[in-house]
Amino acid sequence: MTKDESDTNSDLYIPEPLHRPGDTPDFSHIHVRRNDNLEQPDVLVDSYETERHAGGLIRVMDMQGVASGPWLPQVTPDILRKGLRAMLLTRLMDDRMFAMQRQGKLSFYLKSRGEEAVSVAQTLAIRKTDMVFPTYRQQGVLIARDYPMKRMMCQCLSNAGDSSLGRQMPTMYSSREYGFFSISGNLGTQFIQSVGWAMASAYKRRDDLAMAYIGDGSTAEGDFHYALNFASTYRAPVVLNIVNNQWAISSFQGIAGGQSKTFASRGLGYGLASLRVDGNDFLAVYAVTRWAAERARRGGGATVIEHYTYRAEGHSSSDDPSKYRPNEEASAWPYGDPIERLKQHLIVIGEWDDARHNALVDDLSTYVRDTYKEAEALGSIAAGTGIDPKTMFEGVYEHMTPTLDEQARVSGVGTWRE
């Protein structure tokens, strides 16, 4: 049945990214506009009226830091400064921990450079009682919620200060107290779980919502579909965030996104309000999050938000991005850096200046360095974790089982029997 080439249009198509190593990054097809003339609709609007918001790009700040437009949020300079501080702290901690990983103190590390606005602005726009279902790139949530940094570092060091007893890889935090769901190494799984949490919240007639994250690449998992579908069916109070940072390890977003226009537009087919936002624009992320949270709390159900951003560094400490994309791609990204842009905005509105900024960076650097020292004093994979091997057998079930007790005995760590 195979025909001559001339006879058929049939051929297997494999999409490819714009740039590969050796290419000069060129994003000139992206027209950076102040905003796409996207009005801010009523929070209870029919989902189908968000179609233009799903296809366009909601922005508040221009590249000079001037904020305007229908999505300009009501937010005090104090909150913006808190956001700036949390973003800086996230980046400084990332840098420190990555360096420590290179020195062998940690087995692994994973940065969020370039994406700090997503986690930080969103956290400041919701309540502390809202439960976040993060991926491994939302460390900014914990920092914005003032989670003790030392505990984060101890988790990464897998040492005696790790409240999860070194059971998980570095960066896989968990804190019910801080509304931060235990991170799973399996991509996507938490997206549908967040819907269950939200349904429970609604069932209990609480006002708390769930805030879920997924990467552009991970939207291809079944859990993404389950989440959008169940959220739609049961009108769950959840915000479903897609962080489109253009890359999934070495795969560009077109591998998961295919021929679709935007990831946000996926939400429309499920009858969910869907917004696409400049993820490097702190104010815009803040604004859309407020909108989605209010919609959810007022019974309007779930919103899908695509954060259009760029993963400015390698996937993780195990990755070498120069193998699959030009090193210059990050700096060529037309939507700039979220920290620089918020700093610029604060300066433009007269609430910040370079001197204060530099002083803050110095302060935070010292804080990160000192905190790291304190954390490392409690042990590390390299120097010995100080974690009691007996704990390995605990917590598989609520109560110790005879089988595990016997295995612990064989392993030499003792028994729980009296």
Partner: protein, 338 residues
């Protein structure tokens, strides 16, 4: 004391749990208004309301994912997977998530959910309505696996499962829903009225997970079985006049190794019976454990009587099903071995 079939025992237990605890929610495919394809939730939506017992999309992964989120938030979901043959799309959520949430978060989050699902063949359901996938769950630490063989146990075990703070797989042998089944498809169907174990007390009781039930005492040989095969083994033993001790495991994880060891040490011989595919079935673990624990008492190798290593066929299902003849043959072989 009421005579109940297993469906009624399950349904009344679910009703009790709904009644007792606002945090118990029941959901799954067709379980709401309709009451489930096997009727286990019949009437629950009407009595307890739309929000307590409702239909879900056909999305086993979604059902379990949502249940995990609810459970972590403090509810106690009891979900139904319509046939255990359809549980695989949810396998990741069960094995990677429900089973490990407590461990990986050091107890910060837990997933107290119960997954009810019918298992086993004998209803001409072919390869996709007959499977017994329990071994795929016993290999996953962090989750418990329970399988009742009669209405009395179904109620006691289900109450415990729902109240347990760990995720529990609750396997329901569908061939036993309406009556005990001895493996002979040509005999008229029996009802649970005919069995003592169809007597289900009205008061609520719990059977701890990890305690086997000795169905029949004996001295010549120990039979380890669960679910439908308990009744097949019982009939084989009865009709062949074999002095066998039959242990109904009831709970596979945790396993009542004490009762098993004591019996095998007494009899010196052991046959394991299950309906699932043989290779890497739960029978393998049982055989391994028995020879580890009771090697010096054993007078013959532990034998397994199981489904074959083929998909469950439709037309030939009674050739696949490990019936009385096969059980008896194995018993005799093991009894004769020296």
């Amino acid at each position: 004391m009421a005579r109940m079939n297993m469906i009624e025992a399950i349904r009344s237990t679910l009703a009790y749990q709904l009644q007792k605890d606002d945090d118990v929610l029941i959901f799954g495919e067709d379980v709401g208004y309709f009451g489930g394809v096997f009727r286990c939730t019949d009437g629950l939506q009407e009595t307890y309301g739309l929000k307590r017992c409702f239909d879900t999309p056909i999305s086993e992964g979604g059902i379990i994912g949502v249940a995990i989120g609810m459970a972590a938030a403090g509810l106690r979901p009891v979900v139904e997977i319509q046939f255990s043959d359809y549980i695989y799309p949810a396998y990741d959520q069960i094995a990677s998530e429900a089973a490990r949430l407590r461990y990986r978060s050091n107890g910060d989050f837990t997933a107290p959910l119960t997954i009810r699902t019918p298992v086993g063949g004998g209803i001409y359901g072919g390869e996709t309505h007959s499977q017994s996938p329990e071994a795929l769950f016993t290999h996953i630490c962090g989750i418990k696996s329970v399988i009742p063989s009669n209405p009395y146990d179904a109620k006691g075990l289900l109450n415990t499962a729902i109240e347990t703070n760990d995720p529990v797989m609750f396997f329901e042998p569908k061939r036993l829903y309406n009556g005990p089944f001895d493996g002979d498809p040509d005999k008229p169907a029996m009802s649970w009225d005919s069995s003592e174990l169809g007597e289900v007390p009205d008061e609520e009781y719990r059977i701890p997970l990890g305690e086997a039930r000795t169905i029949r005492e004996g001295n010549a040989i120990t039979i380890l079985a669960y679910g439908t095969m308990v009744w097949v083994a019982e009939a084989a033993v009865r009709s062949h006049g074999i002095d066998a001790e039959i242990i109904d495991l009831r709970s596979l994880i945790p396993l009542d190794m004490k009762t098993i060891s004591a019996s095998v040490e007494k009899t010196g011989r052991c046959v394991v019976v299950h309906e699932a595919t043989r290779t890497s079935g739960f029978g393998a673990e049982l055989a391994a454990l028995v020879q580890e624990h009771c090697f010096y008492s054993l007078e013959a190798p532990v034998q397994r009587v199981t489904g074959w290593d083929t998909p469950y066929p439709h037309a030939l299902e009674w050739h696949y099903f490990p019936g009385q003849a096969r059980v008896a043959a194995a018993l005799e072989q093991v009894l004769e071995a020296a």
